[in-house]
Structure formats: structure tokens, C-alpha cells
């Protein structure tokens, strides 16, 4: 639970978060009070509530299964985090996942020898999509919301067109093992699903990346694009890499989902919104510059726990959306208060966070005399 404290890397451009000003106990407490820490508390509360409602969910095997199936969305959330923290959106995630799933189904088929080359190809496709998203956003200066919305429509349509809407079938089991397999007889937890392992590795890499200059500059760009530009950071390449990370994360999610769910054109539907919701639940500020990467992953876990709790509580299927909506708004409202508190030392609390499009100068008030 204390991971965010050690891995969080505040951008040099902004004031220190209270978490870095006190002793360990104080820091822990302060971290929990920030939105990035609160999500871990939220996840814990949801887990306890679920176990309380049905003790079976406390069984280590069940927890492992749950974490395993949450890995794809958590990985997607980690990818989305990079884009959001740099002040952009990636709406093409679901379409990328769908593309990868169909690619796996149609290109690997029943031939185990194709697993490696096609996996490499899928990752290349993912990187390429991210590169296009990034370049069009940064160099052509089209808002990322629009770029990735266009990418979502174009990619989704193209894949459906090329495959006639339905993939041939599931690929060989060797490939599906990545998302479906597990290490058996692991002490304490019975077994360890591969997806969970992949998630842990990627989470470590992600938090390492955020401590590198790349991560710090990304936060700086998201916090204040102009100052970052002036300080000589190559904004376009920085953001393009964020988009590539996002698409690659979606590709990995896709690979895991082929294993978990199988090949189907609707796999990945709505993942962009789920991932953004997870990131926001993790206390990451839309508009950029703020938030911890591991909180994004925790946000995904909290979101999935919420769905499970709704199932356990037998909430009527039609009302689930409503409950989900209320909880998202409340969680983010609390988080917004948290950031405000966190920023208080600097004096002026920022007003309602706005979707900043960094490549355009903050427009002046154009309500001049008429």
C-alpha cells in the first residue's frame, strides 16, 4: 500500500507534495490523504466489502483469479496514464485491442510456429498506431481527443471490413496460454496467473520510467506545456512516446484478452472509457501534470472490484450503471478536493481543471468589445 510514496516522482516544476516533507509515518498518512493514495484505500474497502458479502472471495485462489483477469484493464490504465499525464487523451485504445485480438485470431490460427512472429508484428502495429496518434497530435496540432477518436473509428471500421466483422476463430492454445495460463503450486497464493506476473513487471517498469527524465519531463509538459517547451524539451517526441506506450499497453492487453476471453470483435469495446475512468479513479488529473502511475493501476483494480461487488450484492443488472456512475463522480470529487489540499502550500488553488490542449497558447478572452 505504501508503494506510491516511494515511486511517486513529482515534477520539478511544481511544489512538493506534502508527502515529501515529513517522516515516514507522516508521509504514509499524507500519501493516503492524496487522491493517488486514497485509491488504494478505496480498493481495500471494496475488497473488504466484497469478502464480507461473500467470504469465498477471500480465498487466495479466487483473489489470484481476480487479479489475473484485472491485469488487462490495469495494463491499459497504465498506458492511458502516460497519455493523460501529458495532458492528452487516448480514445483509440479499445480499437487497438480489437485489432490485436483479430490479428492474433486470423494470423496465428492453428500454427504454433507463428506465435512469435505474429506477436512481434502485433507489437509493431501497436507502436505504429501510437506513433501516428502522437505525430498527428503534436506536429499537425489536432487535439488528441479528435485524433484518437478518428483512429478509433478508422481502425475499428478497417478491421471489421477486412475480416467481415468476425474473426476466423481462436488461435492456438500456446498463444492463449499467455493470458490464460498460471504457475501452479506457488506458496501462500496457490497459483500465480501469467497476466498478473506481466502486470507486476510492467508496473515496475512503468514506475521506473516515471523516475527517469522521460517521466519527469512528461509530467512537466502536462503541468505546463509552455515552460517545458521553453526549457528545450522536445515536446513532440515526448508525447509521441507517451502515445506509443499507450498503444503498446493496449496491445499487451489485447494479447492477454485473447487468452482470457478468446477472439471476438467486441473484445476491447469501451476499454478506452474504462481505462480513462480507472486512471481518474486513481486520482490522476485529466488535463495532465499530476498523478502516480501505480495509482492508475490501482484505479483499475478498484473499478473491477466494484463490478464484482455489484455481482456479489446481486444488484439488478440494469441498475449497475447507475451505481457505477455515482461512485465515479464521488471518488473523483473527493480526489479533486485532495489535490486542492495538496496544492495549498503553493497558494492559489487552481480552478476547475480544464482540458488543456498544450500545443495552443492559452487563448485570451475573446469577448472583446462588440
Amino acid at each position: 500500500m505504501s508503494t506510491p510514496v516511494t515511486t511517486s516522482t513529482p515534477a520539478p516544476a511544481r511544489a512538493a507534495i506534502p508527502a515529501h516533507q515529513r517522516g515516514l509515518g507522516g508521509r504514509l498518512l499524507a500519501a493516503i490523504l492524496t487522491p493517488g493514495g486514497a485509491v488504494f484505500v478505496l480498493a481495500a474497502v471494496l475488497l473488504i466489502a466484497t469478502i464480507q458479502a461473500n467470504p469465498n472471495f477471500g480465498d487466495p485462489g479466487v483473489v489470484m483469479l481476480f487479479l489475473g483477469r484485472t491485469a488487462p484493464i490495469a495494463i491499459a490504465a497504465i498506458g492511458q496514464y502516460y497519455v493523460i499525464v501529458s495532458g492528452e487523451f487516448d480514445l483509440s485504445m479499445g480499437a487497438v485491442i480489437g485489432t490485436q485480438v483479430v490479428l492474433a485470431g486470423n494470423m496465428i490460427g492453428e500454427d504454433p510456429d507463428k506465435v512469435v512472429p505474429v506477436t512481434v508484428l502485433m507489437l509493431l502495429v501497436g507502436a505504429a498506431v501510437g506513433f501516428v496518434n502522437g505525430v498527428v497530435t503534436t506536429l499537425l496540432r489536432v487535439p488528441s481527443f479528435i485524433v484518437t477518436l478518428g483512429m478509433m473509428l478508422a481502425l475499428g471500421g478497417l478491421v471489421s471490413y477486412l475480416t467481415g466483422g468476425a474473426a476466423t476463430g481462436n488461435p492456438v492454445d500456446e498463444f492463449r496460454e499467455i493470458g490464460r495460463g498460471r504457475f501452479e503450486n506457488v506458496p501462500l497464493v496457490e497459483f500465480l496467473p501469467y497476466p498478473l506476473l506481466i502486470l507486476v513487471v510492467l508496473a515496475i517498469v512503468a514506475s521506473w520510467l516515471m523516475r527517469r527524465p522521460f517521466g519527469r519531463n512528461l509530467l512537466a509538459v502536462g503541468d505546463n506545456p509552455e515552460s517545458a517547451e521553453r526549457s528545450g524539451t522536445s515536446v513532440w517526441w515526448l508525447k509521441t512516446r507517451a502515445f506509443m506506450i499507450s498503444s503498446l499497453a493496449a496491445s499487451v492487453s489485447g494479447i492477454l484478452l485473447v487468452g482470457y476471453a478468446g477472439v471476438h470483435p467486441s473484445v476491447g469495446d469501451g476499454y478506452e472509457f474504462t481505462a480513462i475512468t480507472a486512471v481518474v479513479l486513481g486520482g490522476v488529473l485529466l488535463g495532465g501534470g499530476r498523478g502516480w502511475v501505480l495509482s492508475a493501476a490501482a484505479g483499475a483494480i478498484a473499478l473491477e472490484l466494484l463490478f464484482t461487488l455489484l455481482t456479489v450484492k446481486e444488484v439488478e443488472s440494469t441498475w449497475r450503471d447507475t451505481v457505477q456512475g455515482v461512485i465515479i463522480i464521488l471518488a473523483v470529487a473527493v480526489a479533486a478536493r485532495g489535490w486542492q489540499a495538496g496544492r495549498r502550500p503553493r497558494g492559489s488553488a487552481r480552478q476547475a481543471p480544464s482540458t488543456r490542449i498544450p500545443t495552443t497558447p492559452t487563448p485570451g478572452t475573446t469577448n472583446g468589445d462588440n
Binding site: V136, Y161, I329, G364, T365
Partner: protein
């Protein structure tokens, strides 16, 4: 970048793109052996503009203040079933049902606005959540077509003045009112100010929450008008009609296509209407050419990005509008000067 286009505002470019798409559309339609200007085609295009147009006008207001509204499809659906249920085929119920639908929508918009401005929740999340809340309510209470619009109400959709559908005129009327509001009222100016820079606006003594809340209320109410027009068209309330049209993302796309900055503070209604019209022309041409439905999405996606790219790059070099000498065209188009 600073070429002969420099005197054109982004709205000017959008209109130019619209004219271009009209010309190309007419040519492609003619190649298919059809008349682009036939009454049937004009009717289809104008009808196609009406619903998305209404929603996009509201979306423009919300985006101008630096927020977003993803709950519009659900507001559309909700008003459609609520009004249909209360009308229940009785002409006498039309007025109360319409007022009820608009009132409920206003309350939803109010809630959105309050959550955004006072709870400091980003518009994206606040309205995504609101959309889910409404969606759950609709799903729990309406399982299919609901209620019935009486003939008098259905006439709204069936009425045409020449080749122009009444629904289109209603949309234009709402657009006109929105333009007047933006150009001529203090509220309109505050809307731009808050969207441009909340901090500056606040320091200059504007209560920033007011424009945000008003924009959200107007957006929801306009979505409700769209829902009512759809009810008039479908004759029954439909709990899924809003989601069917993808009005959330398409309206945002139309607004940005129309030259409004997604960050807020800059943009106008005329551009949005041009953006909506470009979509309608595109749909019309793809319909006539019988483009594969999957490829339609591909083309839409490419057009959205390409069209925005045309002027997005030069936006940055433009001096603040008030220092330019407006061209005659711009003077007509640019209500934001």
C-alpha cells in the same frame, strides 16, 4: 502557414471545407446517376443536420467554458421516453410533457454544472458518470419503445416549408438564440472568458461557476429538444435512441471540426453548424454510393482528423482575432469578435 489563408478565420476555413464537400458531394452523387439537389436528398441532408446540430450547439457552449458533455445521448433517450410516456397519444398532454422533459433535462444539466464547478470534477468524468446514472435509470424503467406521440406532435417532423423540414428550422432558431446569447449578453462574454482562462476570469471579478452551470443546463436542454424532435419523428419514445446516434462523440467531433478549441475559450456556433453539415453531406454521399458500413466509419474517422488538421496547424500563428481586419465573410461568420 501565413499564406493567403491568413485573413480567413478558422470558421472561414470550415465553411470553405463545407463548400468543398458540397461540390465534391454533388459530383459524386451525379456520378451515381442521382441529383444532389433533389428535394429528397436535400430533405435527407437537412434532417440529418437537425438532431446532431441541436446537440452540437449545446456541446459548443459546454466546450467553450472548458468542459465537455458525454451525457447527451442519455438525456436524449430519457426525454424521448419521458415525454412519450406523458403524452400517451393525447394531444392535450403535449405541452405538459414537453415542459416536463425540458425541466428534467435542465435539472440534469444543473447537476452536471454544479458537479463540475463546485465539486471540481472534470467535465469528462462528471458527465460520463451522469450518463451512467441516467442509463441505469432508463434500463431499469424502460425496456423498449414507450408511450406515444399524438398526431399533432408528430406533425413537427412531418412538416416542411418548401424543401426545408421544420425540425431544421427549429434547430436554426436555437442556433440563432445561442449566437445572440454569445454575442450580445454579458453571460456570453463571461462564457468565453471562463473558458479562455478561469483564473484571469476570476481575477477580473467573474463568478466562474455561473457560466459553467448555465452552459451545462443549456446543453442538456438542447439535448432534450433533440430528444423531443426524435420523439416526433419516431412517434414513440425509445430508451436507446440517444446511444444509437453516438451523439456524444459525434457532437464533440462536430464542434471541434467547426473550429472551436477543445480547451475552451474560443469558437463559435456557425463553425459548429458547418461541422455538422459536413457530416451530413458525407453521410448523404456515402449513402448514395452504397459504401460498406464498416468503411463508412473509416472514412468518417479520416475526414474528422484531416479536416481539423487543415486549420489546427495555423491556429497557433494567428494573432488574437481583434487585431485582424476581418474580411467581409468573416464579419458575417465570426460572432466571437
Amino acid at each position: 502557414m501565413r499564406s493567403r489563408l491568413q485573413h480567413l478565420t478558422s470558421t472561414g476555413i470550415v465553411v470553405a471545407v463545407l463548400v468543398l464537400s458540397l461540390v465534391v458531394g454533388a459530383i459524386l452523387t451525379a456520378i451515381e446517376g442521382r441529383n444532389f439537389l433533389s428535394s429528397g436528398n436535400i430533405d435527407a441532408i437537412l434532417t440529418g443536420c437537425s438532431i446532431l446540430g441541436l446537440i452540437a450547439i449545446g456541446q459548443t457552449l459546454v466546450i467553450l467554458v472548458g468542459s465537455l458533455d458525454l451525457s447527451v445521448p442519455f438525456v436524449v433517450s430519457l426525454t424521448s421516453v419521458l415525454a412519450a410516456g406523458h403524452m400517451a397519444g393525447e394531444p392535450g398532454n403535449v405541452v405538459p410533457a414537453v415542459l416536463l422533459a425540458l425541466g428534467i433535462a435542465a435539472v440534469i444539466g444543473l447537476a452536471n454544472g454544479l458537479v463540475v464547478s463546485f465539486l471540481k470534477v472534470h467535465g469528462f468524468v462528471a458527465t460520463l458518470g451522469m450518463g451512467l446514472i441516467i442509463s441505469g435509470y432508463i434500463g431499469s424503467n424502460y425496456q423498449g419503445s414507450h408511450g406515444l406521440a399524438p398526431r399533432s406532435f408528430r406533425l413537427i417532423d412531418a412538416t416542411q416549408i418548401g424543401p426545408v423540414p421544420l425540425t431544421f428550422l427549429i434547430m436554426l432558431g436555437c442556433a440563432l438564440l445561442a449566437i445572440l446569447m454569445l454575442r450580445r449578453t454579458r453571460l456570453g462574454h463571461h462564457l468565453y472568458a471562463v473558458g479562455g482562462s478561469p483564473e484571469v476570469a476570476r481575477l477580473s471579478g467573474i463568478r466562474t461557476s455561473v457560466p459553467v452551470v448555465v452552459a451545462h443546463v443549456l446543453c442538456s436542454v438542447l439535448a432534450a429538444v433533440a430528444g423531443l424532435l426524435l420523439l416526433s419523428r419516431l412517434s414513440v419514445g425509445s430508451p436507446t435512441i440517444g446511444s444509437q446516434g453516438d451523439y456524444d462523440l459525434m457532437s464533440i467531433a462536430a464542434v471541434v471540426l467547426g473550429g472551436t478549441l477543445l480547451a475552451g475559450g474560443k469558437g463559435n456556433i456557425v463553425g459548429t453548424l458547418a461541422g455538422v453539415a459536413i457530416f451530413a453531406v458525407l453521410d448523404s454521399v456515402m449513402g448514395v454510393m452504397q459504401v460498406n458500413p464498416f468503411l463508412k466509419d473509416v472514412i468518417r474517422g479520416l475526414v474528422i482528423v484531416a479536416a481539423v488538421a487543415v486549420y489546427a496547424g495555423r491556429e497557433i500563428d494567428r494573432r488574437p482575432a481583434r487585431f485582424d481586419r476581418p474580411t467581409g465573410l468573416d464579419a458575417v461568420l465570426q460572432e466571437t469578435k
